[in-house]
Point group: C2
Chain length 167, copies 2
């Protein structure tokens, strides 16, 4: 009844970004057909104090690269949040996935019990690698991917749940 922490992290992030890229392709085609400037979608939000589509992608990227780097104990790659077009966002996704793929499976040895300390707004929090991944980072990743999807759906882009799930 065991899974590896590698299996429960790397392929999930790669899959999530792959589905997201497919969703963006459909959104681009849909926007072209409706003569909607893509910047409208990039800057659209569900509430004034939520991130727009671009910010959801940036936070999904941060969550994924932060998870993998912290689980294996390497420095988190820093990407400036300077994406303003779909093409920029595709680049952000690609370099995030490239980083994730660059980490060998063997680097995850012991990652489930590795102590990970996060600096929150008001305190430090220490978690095991397993708790960090399962209780915090996976829910956070899907939060941002889903919200990106929901922003497009709210704007009438013709995508469906299967585009998100991929199965």
């Amino acid at each position: 009844m065991t899974l590896s922490i590698y299996r429960a992290s790397v392929p999930l992030y790669i899959r999530g970004f792959s589905q997201l890229a497919g969703i963006m392709d459909k959104a681009e085609a849909n926007a072209a057909a409706r003569k909607i400037d893509l910047s409208v979608l990039v800057n659209s939000r569900l509430a004034p104090d939520m991130y727009p589509f671009s910010g959801q992608i940036q936070r999904a990227s941060d969550t994924a690269k932060g998870t993998i780097a912290r689980l294996v104990g390497v420095e988190i790659p820093s990407f400036p949040d300077d994406e303003v077009t779909f093409e920029d966002l595709r680049g952000r996704i690609a370099k995030t996935v490239d980083f994730i793929k660059s980490v060998p499976e063997s680097a995850f040895d012991g990652a489930d019990t590795r102590e990970i300390t996060l600096k929150l707004r008001d305190r430090d929090m220490t978690l095991s690698g397993a708790d960090y991944l399962l209780d915090r980072q996976l829910p956070n990743f899907y939060f941002h991917i889903t919200t990106a999807y929901a922003i497009l759906r709210h704007n009438g882009v013709d995508i469906g749940k299967r585009d998100y799930l991929g199965v």
Copy 2:
């Protein structure tokens, strides 16, 4: 570097529903303060062809109980989708969590390699328990919890990411 499939499923669903219940408490208080009938929130959607808040909870419930039942090889409890109030939805969450908690950890022995066959619209799909949980059911669960959260945020309910994550 191992996790159990129990650890990667049961506590995640229980935690997700617990955060959702807390979010609903805040939404109820906020709606009362703004003199908004709760049925407005229950029936709100982000797009005309997406489920309303109530449907998101029902699908989160279906995803969670379906996952656990299929992983351990028991019949999936059937709940009618008859919830129309916050109180009803709290009941749906409670009975879903009760079912999940009723399954002993020992029942998950071998669940990662158990063959699970799903009837999709157009075909059958067979997956291992691990692939079923990680590639399909966790993303699907967080999809519905996040969309429920996003519906409330879109309606001006004063909740934040920490209410979703719980950390």
